[in-house]
Amino acid sequence: MSRWDVVIVGGGHNALVTAAYLARGGLRTLVLERRERVGGAADTTELAPGIRVPTLAHTVGRLRPAIQKDLGLSRHGLSLVAPEVRVFAPSADGSAVTLWSDVARTAEGLRGSSTHDADAYPAFDRRVRSLGRFLDDLGRSTPPDIKSPRLGDAISALRLGRSFKGLGREGSRTVLRVLPMAVADLVAESFESDALRAALAWRGVRFGSVGPWSAGTAANLLMDGAGNDGGAAGETVFAKGGPGALSAALAAAAREAGAEIRTGAEVTSITARDGRATGVVLGGGEEIEASGVVSGVDPKRTLVDLVDPVAVGPSLGWRAGNIRTPGVVAKVNLVLRRLPVFLAAGGDEALLRGRIVVAPGIDAMERAFDAAKYGRWSEQPIVEATIPSLADASLVEGARAETQVMSVIAQYAPYALRGHGAGRPPGDWEAARELLGDTVMRVLESVAPGIGKLVTHRQVLTPLDLERQYGLTGGHPLHAEAGLDQFFAWRPLLGHARYRLGLERLYLCGSGAHPGGGITGGPGQNAAREILSDLRRRDRG
């Protein structure tokens, strides 16, 4: 009899959610994290003494409210800050689109440039929320078992699903029409201003190797607003102390429930016997047995690198090897001497408290994506920046007065690099890292002239860094591309979408599972439900 019911590989936020729920369910649970701290991509880094930045993810507003409540995260130290402004999208010409949490306020602001758009905005917001409610229900459910029952069951389950019916006749037709659409088409159905279209469409392409004209990106936008207060503007919520504070609260909740968490413990393989996962082996050679193994790392790494190929078998191995993980996201973190001046903000600091999105237009976004298709980073990347220290002074408490930190998500920067750093081997991100940083700074300069002179520290994380430091295959922050081909009942793979992955008693609880990536805790919570139902049934029944 092994000491552990469940061993969880990786200590990212989803793994911690799973661990907390499993421990609360009475399972003896062990979490093994390779790095020195838990959290994975929900991480905070000390960039300079006393100055901390969100390392990768910078907002946490998509976290499921039920998880916060179930696990008592506020009791474990989680404190959230939601600014009034959600998105500030400045252009180089000094104009801007501003999306507020207040829909009416947003609409009024839009009226200056287009009455049509101002009138259309509330309806668009309602539509996103209404479809988002259905998608949230979809996200909370375990995808149907397509193998043994019939496809008809899946369709009728969907069809008869209360929430699908709740959409009404038009709504249910709309959702099926809209999900496979290109986000550019979706926003064009409602709005005429290119700047507004781009500011909204950004959420459809964020973190994906897709452009606004790619099919399926409308689904990304709608999924982003599912289960949170996003609406048309999208959520913008900061964790005090950075995203790492969320991870710390999750870890505390898991520990309190009885889980053990070990850091600096790299799992090098998942052991299997007779088609059944039996435990893990650590880098030092230590073997740990458990009744079930849960992988919080991405599905490709899990099946291709961690499990013996013989146990996986050639067919599943081939499929796992083809899981798409085309990372296109880079991260630039900055320490600034003081708050930069954005041309379009006119010194109004309140505008800078949300997500600052530099996406000059739909075509500009598409062109930025074009570069990535040919293995080049965009010279005009799309940028989403936040200045979390405006809402949370604790991030800069050790610094000179007026110091701010800025967290910048930059897209598109393809993991598989060709062309840049002439004369060097392809894919040489080492040589290209700072060049990319300079490119991102140029974009920021275009909307906030003089920002470069304020930088005291700069950290550039390429997709290769994301892979090396965080174990994200292909540098993909969502563990697997969020596309129609890796969605719902086929995320990560058809026949393996019910959190059970390839072998008996091997589970997947990370972003590579339904409902996908982002700081939601969704896959972790769903996986815990399935694991508990399996292990309880087998051990007690």
Partner: protein
């Protein structure tokens, strides 16, 4: 007194003719009204230059439903499809492998080629020259795709259900599909899901490494769409083109004897034999309604015709926006119709040739000229061609699908001369306004196409006697296809099955009672398939029976 019919079919394209044939066969007094002097819509043969006859628009056939050929007995009405063997992809020097050598070790030409033929063994040997792995994967890929096409084919004959309806009966045909899905292996199921959702490039990239192979195979995923081979959703179109069936052989393409007009004429002859009346040069300007029902049509001449049912084989936008009295249709429906995307993306260049062109990669005349010649040397070039179009320009280096019909049907040109058909992508209907419109760009577009082919066959320009350049605008003007979309609306995922052409209205009926759609705007989409026209007619006949009983 207006003339009275049981059914009026608007448009004498292949789908309109198929509908008319089925209705007449069931005893309905049916008339077809065609705007032009020639029948066939986009499936027409015309003598564009004296002595040279062209399949002006659509130029090959593979998707025509075998049950239509059988039920209408088309061969006895003159249908004769000549097989088209192989796809030849020239690859420029430096892009492919060293030039292939002849028996004495001398290079055959400059550059390389990839030549796939219906003879499986020969194709696999050819692929092995490029990549042993690909040759092996091809052995697996082909049968898999045939299985997929077999599985999905019944869907071509289904009337799509309305997923929002509470009536479960229309869902029944899906039950059979669900059962056959269960019989697939898990891997086949997964591949099917990929086909429905992936880009054709990413789908193929799982199997193959040879760049021109992926580019050429992927090309069938983008034909007629405003998508690139890396755009999600294009793998489905790959499958759509795999469903073709001639004499039971999947993936076989052919050229109708006498051009694609030969198909239309055969269907028209079958329709007439069953008693249908067919009128050409009879443009319809208005669909008449009374109390929310279609009652007949008005012709440009002012003549009025009445009928119990009106079937429109023209596209959904032309039907409801151009032919209906403004304000006479449901506003919500009208919004959806206006949303339906056309976005024509292709053009056509037809050439009369003095002699055959010679490809540098495989000089001289040969079997390779008798099939399709595909200008698709690399995935990146294909994708860049799409990038040009996204921003309103025709491709500088377009993808071109070339056939020389005179090599299989010499009757199309004077002795010793040839006709060459070049399908070109991309040519966006909406040009960047800076270019001044298609009427100013037509010849520049034609020049770009000739120059592109000349990269591989430099002697082509000297062989051209005449050239007909058809831009998407020309296609729209001549055939009436909105925005020059050859499929009467994009085959994108949100415009398929129960969302084609409008969610909730995929069952060939429309909000206007007794007005039916039977063209390619409906399920299962475009191509010379005829399925739309057939299912619409059968559905109308069924409704008539139900109403009578």
């Amino acid at each position: 007194m207006p003339q009275r019919y049981d059914a009026i079919v608007i448009g004498g394209g292949h789908n309109g003719l198929v509908s008319a044939a089925y209705l007449a066969r069931a005893g309905l007094r049916t008339v077809v009204l065609e705007r032009r002097h020639v029948l066939g819509g986009a499936a027409v043969t015309e003598e564009v230059f004296p002595g040279f006859r062209f399949s002006v628009f659509s130029y090959v056939v593979s998707l025509l439903r075998p049950e239509i050929i059988r039920e209408l007995d088309l061969p006895s009405h003159g249908l004769d499809i000549l097989p088209l063997d192989g796809t030849f992809t020239p690859v420029p020097e430096g892009m492919g492998r060293p030039a292939p050598k002849d028996g004495n070790g001398n290079p055959i030409g400059t550059g390389d080629y990839l030549w796939r033929v219906n003879d499986h063994g020969r194709t696999v040997r050819e692929l092995r020259r490029w990549s042993k792995m690909d040759a092996e994967a091809y052995e697996e890929y082909g049968p898999l795709m045939v299985d997929m096409a077999r599985f999905i084919k019944p869907i071509l004959a289904i009337v799509p259900p309305d997923p929002a309806s509470i009536d479960p009966r229309p869902l029944l045909p899906l039950g059979g599909l669900a059962r056959s899905f269960q019989k697939l292996t898990e891997r086949q199921q997964a591949v099917f899901v990929q086909l429905m959702t992936m880009s054709s490039y990413e789908f193929l990239d799982q199997w193959f490494e040879t760049d021109p192979l992926k580019a050429t195979m992927g090309a069938s995923g983008i034909i007629g769409t405003f998508q690139g081979i890396k755009s999600p959703g294009t793998a489905y179109v790959l499958l759509h083109h795999y469903m073709g069936e001639i004499d039971g052989a999947f993936r076989a393409w052919g050229i109708p004897k006498g051009g694609t007009g030969g198909i239309s004429n055969a269907i028209a002859s079958a329709a007439r034999a069953n008693g249908a009346e067919i009128r050409t040069e009879a443009p319809v300007t208005r669909i008449q309604t009374r109390g929310g029902r279609a009652t007949g049509v008005v012709l440009e001449s002012g003549e009025e015709l009445e009928a119990d049912a009106v079937l429109s084989s023209v596209d959904v936008r032309r039907t409801f926006i151009d032919l209906m009295e403004p304000g006479s249709i449901d506003r919500e429906f009208e919004t959806e119709v206006r949303r339906f995307k056309f976005r024509g993306s292709s053009g056509k260049v037809n050439m009369a040739l003095d002699a055959l062109p010679s490809f540098t990669a495989l000089p001289g005349e040969g079997e390779h000229l008798r099939g399709a010649m595909s200008i698709s040397p690399s995935v990146d070039e294909m994708e860049r061609a799409y990038d040009d179009a996204k921003y309103g320009r025709f491709s500088a280096k377009p993808y071109i699908d070339i056939v020389i019909p005179t090599l299989v049907d010499p009757s199309m040109a004077p002795p010793g001369k040839h006709v060459m058909s070049c399908f070109v992508q991309y040519a966006p209907y909406q040009l960047d306004p800076a270019l001044g419109g298609w009427d100013r760009q037509r010849e520049a577009f034609g020049d770009a196409v000739v120059a592109r082919i000349a990269e591989f066959a430099p002697d082509l320009p000297s062989k051209i006697l005449h050239r007909q350049v058809l831009t998407p605008l020309d296609i729209e003007r001549t055939t009436g296809l909105t925005e020059g979309n050859i499929f009467q609306g994009e085959l994108s995922l949100e415009q398929l099955f129960f969302s084609r052409p409008v969610p909730g209205w995929a069952r060939f009926r429309t909000p206007v009672r007794d007005l039916w759609l039977c063209g390619s705007s409906t399920h299962p989409g475009g191509g010379i398939m005829g399925a739309n026209g057939r299912i619409a007619a059968l559905e109308l006949l069924r409704a008539k029976r139900t109403r009578a009983s």
